[in-house]
Amino acid sequence: MFNSITLGQYYQTDSVLHRLDPRIKVVATFLYLVSLFVANSVAGYLVSALFLAAMIALSNVPVRYILRGMKTIALLLVITMLFNLFLTPGDVLFQLGPLKASKEGLILACKMGVRLSMLILGSSLMTLTTTPTRLTDAMETLMRPLRRFRVPVHEIAMMMSIALRFIPILMEETDKIMKAQIARGADFEDRNIMKRIRSMVPLLVPLFISAFRRANDLALAMEARCYRGGDGRTKMKPLKYEGRDHAAYAVLFGYLALCIALRFVKGMLPGFLGI
């Protein structure tokens, strides 16, 4: 039932991107998001798109699989674009009742759509190529300086990794309970919204109970293994940069430099590239 949600899931395969140090992937994703907001011309977006395409090609994850994850947020995307299209003042292109679509709005909507899609594709590429454990490892290491300000970095990372770890389990659980209640005649697809909300009770009550039960079991298991927070804790597989990680940083900063340069030469770009 939840097979369609691929957003944020790990995709098991082997590629350069999968083998990269998770820290660089987190940094790269962050800088990529920044670069999307640095871009202010078609040329800038083109460079970002090419960079993303190259990364997707490197990741060995089937394009169809990645695009399937987009389906979940397609509606959000369309609404955002419509808002931009109709609510931006400027030269009127066409009119739908009281709503006026402007030329500026159209350009803005397209840019926004492209920017949002790349934003989501870019960040989902990170989760597709990094296991949740490695991801939180990277977060923990990257946030370590914050410990000086008494931020409980390890605890935050641990909570994150537990939360991520439990997403698939809870999904499976939801699927199971849903099936069990459907087998008892429950209807989760009623058209009546009130009935539909009420039909969630037989799903949510058991789900919450099982979540609490699991949390309890996990806490017990952690205590049985003498878990006591991050102080003095070492790692079985400490993160270590290798040659390819340094190369990746070089590529990343090269790309970022190009993005920034393009922003300043906007006026000098030929034809549509400068829009």
């Binding site: 199971k176 309970i177 087998a183 008892r184 005649g185 429950a186 009550v205 058991p206 109970i209």
Partner: protein
Amino acid sequence: MSIRIEDISYYYERDTAMQVCALDHISAEIPDDQFIGLIGHTGSGKSTLIQTLNGLLKVTEGHIYYNGEDIDGKDFDRKALRAQVGMVFQYPEHQLFEADVLSDVMFGPKNLGLSAEECKARAEEALRMVGLEERYYGLSPFDLSGGQKRRAAIAGVLAMRPKVLILDEPTAGLDPKGRQEILDLIAGMQKSTHMTVILVSHSMDDVARYADRIMVMAGGRLLMYDAPQAIFERSEELEAVGLAAPQIIYALKKIREAGIPVATSALTVEEAAAEVLRAVRKSGKKAKAARRQVHV
């Protein structure tokens, strides 16, 4: 009221790199008033198979006919099918949600659109069938013991008065006494109501005692579908797919190897004991020595 399975296949994650063939061209016919044991190793496809039987999973290929009607047919009423083919999932107590036991059991009948009195009558009948007494009706399901919770959950399915009852490992996680009680209960219900029961298990010992016929699954295929005795004759094949005949059959085989001419078709310890006694008495003196061997 029969179920006919015609050449069905089921794939998880179809058309992706993770495609798994869970059911591989299965055909079978399940007649009325039968106790069927469905045996297979973890991942053999037994859970998938039962979910296709009441339309929770739609088969990728092939057809399933319930009373001659294709359950994937356009105007087939799947909701009605689910009322007729009751399904008790693994750890069914995890689906309890109401404030008290009686209301929880009434959930199924209520979904069938029955009147409040009818729902209550059916719920009480179901609870009686599973042996939960009236003093439990008003309790929260979460205050019951493990075995009682499971009975309440099974009653929740029984209250819909299914013609076919499918149970997925109903004894998982129970102690030996609880297992026996649940199995006896199911067998007793089958005899008194004449519904078809499909009992999924990975333990031959559980199934051997009650089943009229046994389905053996391995790697998504239906390997055998026959009477228990015939299945256990093929114990080598069973072992090849990680299953085994009931322990008692192996004990009987050992006894025969030791020189006592016993038949190895017994399914329960009681039957086996009777068979050993019969064989021993028959062969008289010669067996006396061997009997000592057995006791050792």
